[in-house]
């Protein structure tokens, strides 16, 4: 089984703490796995601290705040836009329903005889109601599927 020596971790921890006991050092000298671990740990520990570019915490914090602020602003605007579309769709549907019903009733009453509704008028009103209703359903579906 390809495994390394279980003492490796201890060797690395000791180097990181800057306190390598002689017993561990002796073990590392005789163990191929720990010897490489020791070399690497010492080498990495000697790596110079990366240049302090400056304290960027303030800059990063402000950027994060700006990103959060912008995403918060975007969300209500999108919601509002969808709600407005939704309302327009619903109102149009109601209006058309009322107009259609009124037209049917008017035709029925003014003919003063058996109901003589034109197929063309009924088809037109139904088609209009279906289109508007479909748009409204599409609006609701988009709102439900909106991420976040």
């Amino acid at each position: 089984v390809r495994t390394s020596c279980p003492t490796e971790q201890e060797v690395v921890r000791a180097v990181r703490a800057g306190d390598l006991p002689p017993s561990l050092h002796d073990h590392a000298e005789g163990c191929a796995s720990c010897s490489l671990a020791l070399r690497l740990a010492i080498f990495f520990a000697q790596e110079p601290i990366a240049d302090q570019v400056g304290d960027e915490t303030g800059q990063i914090w402000r950027r994060a705040q700006a990103i959060a602020f912008l995403s918060e602003r975007k969300r209500p605007a999108r919601e509002q836009r969808l709600t407005t579309l939704d309302r327009i769709g619903a109102a149009s549907l109601r209006l058309l329903s009322v107009l259609g019903l009124a037209l049917i009733l008017d035709l029925a009453w003014t003919n003063a005889g058996p109901l003589t509704l034109s197929v063309r008028v009924v088809a037109a009103v139904t088609a209009a109601a279906l289109i508007v209703g479909g748009l409204q359903i599409l609006g609701i579906w988009r709102q439900v599927r909106r991420p976040g």
Binding site: L40, E47, I49, A50, E56, T57, I60, A64
Partner: protein, 159 residues
């Protein structure tokens, strides 16, 4: 995350994270950009609370490095081999130079693994979490990375 908490995290982690990124990608400016981006992303609200912010930062940095390699797979390792200070003795200098040259010749993933294991002292389980792999895979990958390193050192010494 509160601002004071973030500042403390930055103070304790930024330097080693920079070295990790630099050791992995070999380009100081790129490493700096990646570390800044990782710190920015840790401030982005997440669905679940971050339990281990240091490991989470390493994971973010690892993912950003991976994204960068996907965009530009081969970058020159211009700053890796000449990054160490002059050691105090000739023997140390030889050992350091050998290792620096050998590490610079390894692939970035091998360097990442070796850094996480021997510079940061993370366990296989922690490295697996950082790299998004299983601990058993990390054990094998780390073993292979060490083998490759040893081979490069031996070849370097014999040539």
């Amino acid at each position: 995350m509160e601002r004071t908490e973030f500042e403390e995290l930055y103070r304790t982690t930024a330097s080693s994270l920079r070295r990790y990124a630099l050791r992995s990608c070999g380009n100081r400016q790129q490493a700096e950009d990646i570390v800044q981006e990782a710190f920015l992303r840790i401030l982005t609200p997440t669905a679940q609370p971050i339990r281990e912010p240091v490991r989470y930062l390493y994971r973010l940095t690892t993912n950003l490095l991976r994204d960068e390699w996907r965009r530009a797979p081969r970058r020159t390792e211009e700053e890796l081999s000449d990054d160490h200070p002059a050691p105090s003795s000739t023997q140390q200098a030889d050992l350091g130079a050998d290792l620096a040259a050998a590490l610079a010749r390894l692939g970035p993933k091998d360097r990442q693994l070796l850094w996480l294991a021997y510079a940061e002292g993370f366990t296989h389980h922690e490295i697996a979490e950082i790299m998004g792999r299983r601990p058993a895979s990390i054990r094998v990958l780390l073993f292979r990375a060490r083998q490759r390193l040893e081979r490069v050192i031996t070849r370097g010494g014999s040539s």
